[in-house]
């Protein structure tokens, strides 16, 4: 079995409880970071670990922290992105359910590193039970002095607040998340300015995904070198891949970054269900462009997938078999994005809604010549032209489907 960083203890009973957690080396990383290391050292370590963001964009966490200006007089904030809205994505939920203290450790260490005294966890509204579990974990950590004033006598203070979302996918986008956290409508903000300089309440802010932060404690305990070696030189560590769709064993698999997609599906997830043939894979959550069956001999890491015109995104692998209608896939995708567009900018709001209307019409058997071209035109008018990346997230998979499965789509029109 490969080495696990995040899910090693998932099967231990009551691991979410602090006393159990403490028996397994719990809070040692916080102790080490706060009492033996200084923020500069931690930042160096985080950078050296080449930990790429697990929320979707794959930006190196250490570099992001380094952007936060250290000499201002404004408070700084940490926002943990636990919105987990990307269809197919289930990893954060496992981490928070089974290993909430690991996340808390990650938050404490990164906040200490950046000089932050207030952190927010923005959690998907539907995750009510998980929010309660986190709440309990935070309470426990407070009682034991891992949170609050003067943590472990280090002089460092940290408070964590949980904020539940209200069911909008867009609130997972970091700037929309900030707006929502401020109590406003979750509309994305213009960038620049970037949150690192002007974020929550106009103050410098770090936003990281749950999984990203949950990797920090191990990096502190075992070192960047070890972490890097788990994965690839410039994309270190493991990832929790959530495999769903027509495989024998759907579920989560924590594997090194750089694991082959083919292995993931056929070796770890048990291959195709009912012996069906593989048709295509969406490799990194619904926003990632589709890969055809003959394109899956590929390593799962940010750069490789990018080169293959797709992306690793949130590491949610959606497997489609030969029986799956690509038109259905397209319908599901367009319905989702049309509904979840915040409505702020023209190409995304109207473009997605038209794609949806055309695709639904085709599914009703009322397709017309030129429909596919119109879908492609609408989608291309989004790529790189919208206010926030949701436009791209919607357009890229659609364009990839049109490109790779055009023949099949055309047959639905005839």
């Amino acid at each position: 079995m490969k080495e696990k960083v995040l899910s090693e203890h998932f099967s231990i009973d009551n691991f979410f409880k602090l006393d159990v957690y403490l028996k397994h080396n719990g809070y040692q990383a916080v102790k080490k970071a706060l009492t033996e290391l200084n923020p500069e050292k931690i930042l160096k370590e985080a950078k050296a670990a080449n930990l790429r963001g697990r929320g979707g964009a794959g930006f190196p966490a250490g570099v992001k922290w380094g952007f936060v200006p250290q000499n201002g007089d404004k408070p700084k904030y940490m926002c943990v992105n636990a919105d987990e809205g990307e269809p197919g994505t289930i990893k954060d939920r496992y981490i928070m359910t089974h290993n909430p203290h690991l996340l808390l450790e990650g938050i404490i260490i990164s906040s200490y590193c950046v000089g932050i005294n207030t952190a927010y966890i923005y959690i998907r509204g539907e995750y009510e039970n998980i929010a309660l579990r986190l709440e309990t974990a935070i309470d426990e950590a407070f009682q034991k002095g891992f949170l609050g004033k003067d943590i472990l006598g280090s002089g460092f203070d940290l408070d964590i607040t949980i904020h539940r979302g209200a069911g909008a996918y867009i609130c997972g986008e970091e700037t929309a998340l900030l707006e929502s956290l401020e109590g406003k409508r979750g509309n994305p903000r213009l960038k620049p300015p970037f949150p690192a300089s002007i974020g929550l309440f106009q103050c410098p802010t770090v936003i990281n995904n749950v999984e990203t932060l949950a990797n920090i404690p191990s990096i502190i305990l075992k070192g960047a070198e070890w972490f890097c070696a788990l994965g690839l030189p410039n994309d270190g560590g493991t990832r929790i891949f959530g495999v769903s769709g027509m495989v024998k064993n759907p579920g989560i698999y924590e594997l090194p970054v750089g694991t082959n997609l083919k292995d993931l599906i056929f070796k770890y997830a048990g291959g195709m269900k009912e012996g069906k043939k593989l048709k295509a894979v969406i490799p990194g959550g619904m926003s990632s462009p589709i890969l055809k069956a003959d394109e899956i001999d590929i390593t799962m890491d940010s750069d490789t997938l990018m080169k293959a015109d797709s992306m690793i995104g949130s590491g949610a692998v959606i497997v489609l078999d030969e029986d799956t209608s690509i038109l259905d896939v397209l319908t599901i995708i367009t319905k989702f994005y049309s509904h979840e567009s915040c409505g702020q900018c023209t190409p995304c709001r109207i473009g997605n809604s038209w794609i949806k209307k055309i695709v639904t019409r085709i599914s009703r058997g009322e397709g017309k010549d030129g429909d596919i071209d119109n879908i492609a035109r609408l989608a291309s008018n989004m790529v790189g032209k919208t206010l926030c990346p949701l436009g791209d997230a919607a357009a890229m998979p659609i364009l990839s489907i049109v490109k790779k499965f055009r023949d099949e789509l055309e047959t639905s029109i005839k």
Binding site: A168, R185, G343, Q344, I350, W354, K357, N374, L387
Partner: protein, 817 residues
């Protein structure tokens, strides 16, 4: 820095967006969501450009220029892209007419067919011909939309006064949402829902009137489409002429753009380059000016009373008759009460008439400034009054002594909002809570009438003393007072802004003295809000006459005592109490009122849109208001009427042909007006009353006056008086205009929920308020701005405005029948 746009090198200053720079240099980039004065939004995506070295496309409305930047605004790809995007926008907006081949010919008929309920095409839209979307379609040239148009089929919202909202025409540019939030500080509007259902609405989709809307109309003025439509403009013709005038309704002096069509005033909108208002106005200037002109209550012919009845006559007859009657009275027996909403020319002639023709000292003084005159006497010079409204937004600290400012002087309030958004601290002192208390950083809520105690204590703290009278009598906590002092000490030149309410009456002078002292100690500026559109002007004019003018209340007392027998009432809102009916009453005014019913002569005056004239706003800014319309019927400007009366009484120096000759006379008499000539006013917006060179100020001892206890048992409530200024001449705006009355009624008495519950009163109930001065009928308005035991009202009421000697009265409340 240098920026290259489409190959053209442009020398530019930083802190500009590409779009701004392009506009300044006559380079057209289509844009729909951008609007000057609003933060970049970048939603419509029409303004995308290509920047060298940057991948893809960038919205020019939110990217700031950098040295050496190379921008392309009109490549083949961009043009195609814009066409595509505009096409998308048009699928959400009724578009048949926008792309119709017959649209030119159709134009001729549009004035008639657009009078329908549902707008499904431009020909049916009241915005037709004045629409940014139409312009952009022309410019980009869309002739076919590949997707069928999608009609949202939303119900048109018509339940609010002044304007309707038809979101079927909305293109979601967000300008309305942003101006309401960013500039007006109201945040009434927001986007709601998402995806294709996204729409602009209010909290819980309530009516605007229930959502804190101030009906400023700013949202409507920035809307690029016909989604927000002025009710009063809907069925009017298209504008064929545009001109400008000043709003006559408060001392801010907003410049208004006037749309005229076939000689009719269609509507007024704030002028973008108005020096005091910078493209903003309030509900009154935006929506009510037209009513002032066309309301049925206008008097259009001179009337004289013969055999108990008012009879229409010609000017000669009316004026000779009036002159003949007036001549019979001794100087002392006559009086002139004059409004401060008339121009300097009008006000000057009235004053001269009283002085030189009637030879009476009974001319009403300008109440807003009486305390200033006293302070000037103490000081030996007139303290500076000329401070610019626009400079408030850069203040670090604002000390506000006027809880009603967002209603009485909305434009000043906007500057305060801007200051707070820039990080200023707002200290609000007064007996009422501000309507927009969310902008306040320190609230000093005091007992009514104890402003002078509060300020006296503050002064003591600032000079290092210990005094906590305030804590006891004003009920302001000592630490709050100390905090206020700390804030004032730590900021550069704080702005002290106060309304006339606080410096009038017996303690007013003490309040002003204290303000003077505190401003001196903290190196601050004193912003006197003034009252009416020309209160500052009238005040300045009166300084050219040797005789002092008198308080209106005293003149009225003289009428009651039968000392004054003939009254010349010009444009004044005063309602004469029953016992104060003079033997001979002349009314020079524009509307039918209770006073005109009992008058002996009514001389119909033009309203401000119908006469040229010079006004001085609260900043000391001198502005000329243009003549926009011909006066109806036989109405004439005030200066003409008064000088004709004077001439017929044998006076010689009243031979004015036009208002500019009056200004010339004023200029020669009064050094304050030295710069004021008509040509100069037409050329420059920056002409101010010339002030005396300020001398070194000194601190004065301030007397701390506590209000008399009074009979608390009989009069358990304290009534706080504040100004709404909702009147024009003798017309009450809320009485005259129904839409306005729903929004704000001068008859409202503000009461807190707790007291209303105790008295079993609900909103809209008619009740009676009794004070030692009399009683009046009012309407219950429950608000959060007053606390238990306190009620508040605007003193346009007879019992309040004639005898109000203080801004607080003890009253009793009785349920009406």
């Amino acid at each position: 820095m240098k920026v290259i746009i489409d190959g053209k090198t442009i020398e530019a200053e930083e802190n500009k967006t590409i779009l701004e720079l392009a506009r300044e240099n006559g380079i057209y980039i289509p844009s729909l969501c951008d609007h000057p004065g609003l933060a970049p939004f970048s939603g419509c995506r029409l303004c995308l450009v290509q920047i060298k070295g940057k991948k893809g496309y960038s919205p020019s409305c939110s990217i700031y220029i950098e040295d050496g930047m190379e921008v392309k605004t009109s490549t083949q790809q961009l043009r195609k892209l814009r066409k595509n995007i505009l096409e998308l926008i048009l699928t959400e907006h009724p578009n048949a007419c926008l792309m119709c081949a017959e649209k030119k010919e159709c134009d001729e008929y549009k004035a008639t067919i657009r009078k329908v309920g549902e707008v499904t095409g431009c020909v049916l839209c009241p915005n037709n011909g004045d629409c940014e979307l139409q312009e952009i379609v022309e410019e980009i040239g869309v002739d076919i939309v590949d997707f069928p148009s999608y009609y949202r089929d939303l119900e048109v919202k018509r339940d609010d006064p002044f304007f309707d909202r038809n979101y079927n025409l909305c293109i979601l540019c967000g300008r309305c949402v942003r101006i309401c939030h960013e500039v007006r500080g109201c945040s009434t509007l927001s986007f709601v829902k998402r995806g294709p259902e996204t729409v602009v609405s209010t909290s819980m989709d309530q009516r605007l009137i229930d959502s804190n809307c101030q009906f400023c109309g700013a949202c409507m003025d920035v809307c690029p489409t016909g989604a927000l439509i002025e009710k009063g403009r809907k069925y009017e013709s298209l504008a064929d002429d545009k001109t400008e005038m000043l709003c006559p309704l408060c001392s801010v002096g907003c410049r208004l753009e006037v749309n005229l069509g076939e000689g009719r005033l269609l509507n007024t909108r704030p002028a973008a380059d108005g020096p005091a208002n910078h493209g903003q106005a309030c509900v009154k200037g935006r929506f009510l000016i037209k009513d002032l002109v066309y309301i049925e209550k206008r008097i259009e012919k001179p009337l004289i009373r013969r055999e108990k009845k008012l009879e229409e006559v010609g000017w000669d007859e009316a004026l000779d008759w009036v002159a003949g009657k007036l001549k019979k009275y001794k100087g002392k027996e006559t009086a002139v009460i004059r409004s401060a909403q008339v121009s300097c020319e009008d006000g000057y002639v009235l004053r001269k008439f009283a002085d030189e023709v009637l030879k009476t000292g009974n001319i009403s003084s300008e109440p807003a400034f009486s305390s200033y005159r006293e302070l000037a006497q103490k000081l030996g010079f007139m303290p500076a009054l000329n401070y610019k409204i626009e400079e408030i937004s850069s203040a670090e600290t604002i000390f506000l002594l006027s809880s009603n400012i967002s209603v009485s002087h909305p434009i000043v309030w906007l500057e305060i909002v801007k200051a707070v958004k820039n990080g200023a601290r707002l200290i609000a002192a007064g007996p009422m809570e501000l309507q927009f208390d969310r902008f306040v950083s320190l609230q000093l809520r005091i007992e009514p009438g104890t402003e002078n105690i509060l300020l006296g204590s503050l002064q003591k703290i600032l000079t290092g003393g210990e005094s906590f009278k305030a804590a006891k009598e004003s009920k302001v906590a000592e630490n709050a007072l100390r905090e206020a002092a700390e804030i004032l000490k730590s900021s550069k030149s704080p702005a002290f802004i106060f309304g006339s309410e606080s410096i009038q009456g017996p303690v007013g002078m003490e309040v002003l003295t204290a303000l003077w002292n505190i401003a001196l100690l903290s190196k601050g500026r004193l912003y006197h809000l003034g009252l009416e559109s020309n209160s500052r002007g009238i005040f300045e004019l009166d300084r050219s006459f040797n005789k002092k003018s008198r308080q209106t209340g005293l003149i009225i007392q003289d009428i009651i005592d039968n000392k004054v027998k003939a009254l010349y009432l010009a444009g004044s809102r005063i309602e004469l109490p029953k016992k104060a009916r003079p033997e001979f009453l002349i009314i020079q005014d524009s509307y039918v009122s209770k006073n005109t019913e009992i008058a002996d002569a009514v001389l119909p005056a033009a309203v401000s849109a119908e006469a040229e004239g010079v006004f001085v706003n609260m900043e000391g800014r001198v502005q000329k208001s243009g003549k926009v319309l011909e006066p109806p019927g036989k109405t004439k400007p005030d200066w003409w009427i008064t000088s004709q009366a004077a001439k017929r009484m044998g006076a010689e120096a009243f031979d004015y042909k036009k208002p500019s000759s009056i200004i010339k006379e004023i200029r020669n008499k009064l050094p304050g007006f030295a710069n004021v000539t008509y040509p100069a006013l037409e050329k420059s917006k920056e002409i101010f009353i010339k002030e005396e060179t300020p001398q070194k100020g000194k601190l004065f001892t301030q007397k701390i006056i506590s209000l008399p206890e009074g009979n608390n048992k009989r009069y358990p409530f304290r009534l706080v008086l504040f100004y709404n200024l909702d009147f024009y001449r003798n017309l009450s705006l809320s009485e005259a205009v129904r839409g306005f009355r729903i929004f704000r009624n001068s008859q409202w008495i503000h009461i807190c929920l707790e007291d209303a519950d105790k008295l079993k009163l609900k909103n809209g109930d008619s009740i009676e308020v009794l004070s030692p001065h009399g009683k009046t009928k009012v309407i219950v308005r429950i608000t959060k701005t007053v606390s238990p035991g306190i009620v508040a009202a605007s003193p346009e009421y007879p019992i309040f405005n004639n005898t109000a000697s203080s801004n607080v009265l003890k009253v009793m409340i009785k349920r009406g029948k």
